[in-house]
Each structure stands twice: as structure tokens, then as C-alpha cells.
């Protein structure tokens, strides 16, 4: 499933960062520590519905847009 399909407070593990389409998004995600195997939790959506906020590792909060979250394939934990 895709990261965007997670519900609030649901936890998942990254299975794959899709490499199709925009290469710059994948590079950016990698720089920020979003790589295969990383566990994450969907914390909330912004007041206007987008972007999303996720927690990875133990304390790191990241925000990313729906279109970026869509290239992240996850498995629910």
C-alpha cells in the first residue's frame, strides 16, 4: 500500500521508494532518512488536508505532500 493510504496514528514500514517519475523527490527522501526498512507513523494531516506529518525513527517529525508520499510504498505494522 502507499503511505497516503495510511490512517491517522497507523504505523508502517517502508518497503520501497518508487524510482519512477521524479528523481529529485527520491533523492530528497533519502537525504531525510526515508529509505527501505524504516518504520514510520502517520501523525496527522495539515489543517487544509495536505501535507502529511509522519514520525520516523523515535522522534523525527517530517512533513511531506501527498504527491511525495505517493511514491513511498509501505506495509502496515
Amino acid at each position: 500500500m502507499l503511505l497516503t493510504e495510511l490512517g491517522k496514528k497507523e504505523k508502517a514500514r517502508i518497503v520501497r521508494i518508487k524510482r519512477q517519475g521524479r528523481a529529485d523527490i527520491a533523492v530528497r527522501l533519502t537525504d531525510m532518512g526515508l529509505v527501505k526498512g524504516v518504520k514510520l507513523e502517520l501523525i496527522r494531516r495539515a489543517p487544509l488536508g495536505d501535507p502529511l506529518e509522519i514520525k520516523t525513527g523515535n522522534f523525527l517529525l517530517l512533513s511531506l505532500r501527498r504527491e511525495e508520499a505517493e511514491i513511498i510504498e509501505v506495509e502496515k505494522l
Partner: protein
Amino acid sequence: MKKSDKAKKEREILVALAGNPNSGKTSLFNSIVGTHLKVGNYPGVTIEKTEGALKYGGYKIIFVDLPGTYSLSPYSPEEVITRNFIVEEKPDVVLNVVDGTNLERNLYLTTQIMELGANMLIALNMYDEVLQQGTKIDLKQLQKVLGCHIVPTIATRKQGLDKLLEHIVKIYERKIVIAKNKLSYDPQEKDLTVLAESRYAFINGAVKETVEYLDKPIKTITDWIDTIFINRLLGIPIFLFIMWAIFQLTFKLGEYPMGWIESAIVFLSELVSGVLPEGWFASLLVDGIIAGVGGVISFLPNILLLFLGISFLEATGYMARAAFVVDKLMHKIGLHGKSFIPMLTGFGCSVPAFMACRTLKNPADRITTMLIIPFMSCGAKLPVHLLLIGAFFPEHISGNVLFGVYMFGILMALLSAFVLKKFLFKGESEPFVMELPPYRAPTIGYLLIQMWIKAQLYLKKAGTIILLVSIVLWGLTTFPSLPEDYPGEMSQIEYSLAGRAGKLIEPVIKPLGFDWKIGIALVSGVAAKEVVVSTLGTIYALDDADIEDEEATALKDRISSDPVFTLPTVLALLVFVLLYVPCLAATAVFHKEAGSWRYTALYFGYTCGVAWLAAFLVQRIGSLFF
């Protein structure tokens, strides 16, 4: 500093600070060097370069605070600068500041510094938070794995600094040897995905071996605050309230010191006129230099308070939340949530704001954001707003009027972005992925130093460009001097070169309700926005001398008694100054960043065109009511 220069000054150690944004790198830098710092720019770019030095153990240790980066991939100019500095300047020690609470992500940069073979020393920062979170790090083992020394630090409380300095000297003296063959992968790997994955594999291995996290995840203070601050319902009202509060603070609190500075300037000009014999020199000093530069300096408190507010938002971690809250809106007008940060920086100064646009990879996003930044009222425009609002609006609504001016600028920026993105610059936006750092209480010292840096930059501007412009303008308004037997009614300023130029453009600005005096101020305001104030100061000071008004009154009172300033005209002028082309320095930076005359022409024409049109409408509509 080049290596060759350094051979001559042997007892110098060059230390470069590298680290992730929000790792406390700048905090650590400030804690080490205090106020002994030099602010400048990297050659060719306007990314701030801060340098500081101190004496320790018989050495002069020079610290350079490199821009905060997550990586050294040539993804952004900050990353390029950091990499180039390490490779080309070959600092004796690269001090890698690592946020201990985010070890895995921070170590990603560390592996890349290791790949460059630098003499690295790690400051494991925020060590207090690490302990609070119940995380146990086996420092000895981690040192072994990474091949370099690690010093736990708490930058905000100045802990661990002595030990850092001690290590720096030892590394320089080769008493600490850095093992440079610790990486478990080939850094020459061509496939970037494979390389990134190998780096993380190495990091995960290192962390698994040395770090023990608390089993049950704890709800942090940040989690609690965020449930309110970026809550679905309250997120936007809180955002608006915080922005509003900052501008109220700027205005209300700034009023007092501003009054003191104004009285000091009046006192100084009276003193100088009393001591010096009447003549062109006294006039140059009083009407040119003191009136011009003094007018600018009197707004220093407001500007400092505004920057204090912006630094506060950045240091507490709210700034990123603000971008999070408004991204959808930015996305709607075709921009990136990150465009919000240059736009917000634009409230301080367009120069760094244009530069901040470099972080926007997408050319369409970038040029659009750059074109709308001029509408974000910069710190230099604030004095003009303050002067006009202070002179023509009752005190109890002045804060609201100022807020309205800023909001109007934002509105014009959003509208422009929408139109530009829709018709001129079509294209995809760049990635938004962004860290929301934990909320942290900023230290007063940090905020004061940030304010002091801004004060330095502002006063440097006042001392150089504005001094020069004040003198030139004084010359333009004084020469040629009006012959004593001039037939008919004519004041000196009207007769002068400046008056003639102002009159020349008068037909263009007449529909806005502006006269030639405002014309002169606006023309000179292209040099620097504060100059609008100093020019009015100079013009009205000279004009008053004509009608033999001996008392040096505050500029506010002088302009409010001029009949040309009707309410619609004041509003139109506020709008015009808000929107028209930024100062020469900013324009030069824009040109360099945009890289084409076509864009610079568009920028000049667009800002001036919009300003004229908006001011015209305000004047027309205003005249119907007042």
C-alpha cells in the same frame, strides 16, 4: 583562508562547523565564539557566512559556521558550499555537529564527511535531551566504529565546550589520530541509490551496535504542543495570531526606544547648528548626514524587534509548522510551501530572500517566488510605513494599519504568484519534504546574537550606502543654489537638480496624488528603501530652513502639516512604497540569481507597474470616501 596564507601564520587552526539544520550547530558556534564574530557572505552567493575566532592553548582557533545541510549531494547551494569548503579550504578540523536525538539521520551527513577524508570531530549535541529520552549511547564504541572522537555537548548551556577545544588542538597537533578507513562500503559507487542505501546500512550497523533506545515510545512535549498548534481547527487561527502578534510587538514596543533616538537626533542637529557657523558645511552635516542617516537609525529598534520575532519563530521550531500549515494554500497558487520561507524572509530583507529561493529546485517555482518577494514588505520599507502611519493615523489604530499594509502585500504576492504561475511560468513544483524540529526554548543569548548580527548588517548599510546616498542627495538638493535675486516665488529645493528630476516625473505620479517632493523621495528610494525617509527628512529640513523655521521638529510633524498628504494620498503612497521595485542591492542580487536581463526587466516593470496601478486604484477609490 588558503593553505598558503596559513603557513605564514602558523599558530592558527581553521575549524569548519558542519551539521544538519536544527542540530544546534549555530547555537554551538555562538556558545563558543560569543560575540566575536564576523558576518559576511560566501563569494558569489549571499548565503550568510559567519566566522569567529578565539585564543586557546596558544593557538588562534578560527571557526567557520557552514550552512546547515542534510547531505553533501549537490542538491542545493548550501550543500555545494559545504562540500567545496571542506574540499578546497581543507580545514584543520571539521567539527560535525550531530543532534543526538536524531542520530541515524544526522549520521548520514557524517558518513559523507568521512568519505571526503576530513579530520572530523563530532560534537554530540543536545546530550541533555538524549539522556532525558532515556537513550543510552556507547560513546567509546561509537568512536571506534566511526574512527573519530566524539564529545557530548549541550550548546545552549555551554557544556562540553572546553573539551571540544581541547580535542581540536589535539587533532591539530596530531595527538589524536583519525582513522579514515572505517566505511564499510565503496564511496566511489556510481549508482546513487545503492550508495545511499550502503550509507544507511553502515549507519544502522553502527547504531545497532552502540545505541539503546527506551522500549516504549514516550509522548514528547512537542507532540503535545503540536496537537494544539497545528490542530485541524486551531492551526490556521493560531498561525494568523502569531503573525499578528509579532507585528504588534514590533510597533508597540519599538515606539519607546525610537522616541529616545529621535530626541537624540534632534538634540544633535541643534548642537551642531549651534556650534558650526552657518554655511554649506553645517548644512551638509545637519541637513544631509544627520537628517539622512539619523532618520534611518531611529528605526533600528523596530527592525531589531521584527528580526527578534523572526529568529524566535525559527529557534522555537514554529517556522517549519507555519510552512506546514500554509503549504496547501501555497500549493494552490502554484507555489511550494517552502516558498513561504523566502517570502517570510522577505519581511526582513529581499536580498537573503532572493538567495533563499535557491533552495527551490524548480526554475518556474523559483522565478515566480522571486518575482513576488518584493511585495513582502521588507525591513527597509518598515521605516517608511512607520513614518507615514505615525504621522497620519491615531496611535490606537497604528498597529492595525501596519498589519493591514503587510496583509495587503501578502495578498498582492499571492495573486501575482497565481497569475504568473498560470500564464508565464508553468511547471511542476519541487519536493516539499521538510523536518518539523522539536519545539525548543531558545536561549536569550542566541536571540540577542541573532539580533546583533542583523543590527550590524543594518547599520553597515546605514553607514555606507545610505551615508553616501544622503550626501549625494544633499548635493542634488543644494546645487545649483537659487540666485538671491531670483524673480518670483521659488524655493531652493524646487530649483535644485533633485527638484527638477522630481518635477520631471511628476506627470507620471500625479494621478496617484503625489507631488514632486514625493517623486524625489521615490526615485531615491530605488537606491535603498530607508532613503525614502531620509530624503523626505532632507527635503523637509531644507524646505523648513526656507521658511525660517528655527526649531528642528520631528519629520513626522513636518510632513503631517503638508497639505499634499490627504488620506487617500497617504494610503496610495503606503501602497506604492510597499509594492514598487526593491533597493539597488536587492535588484542586483535578483539579476544575478535570475541570470537574465529579460527577468530583471520583467521584475522592474512588474513591480513598478503593479505599484502604480494599485496606488492609482487606492487614490481613486479613497477619494470617493474621504
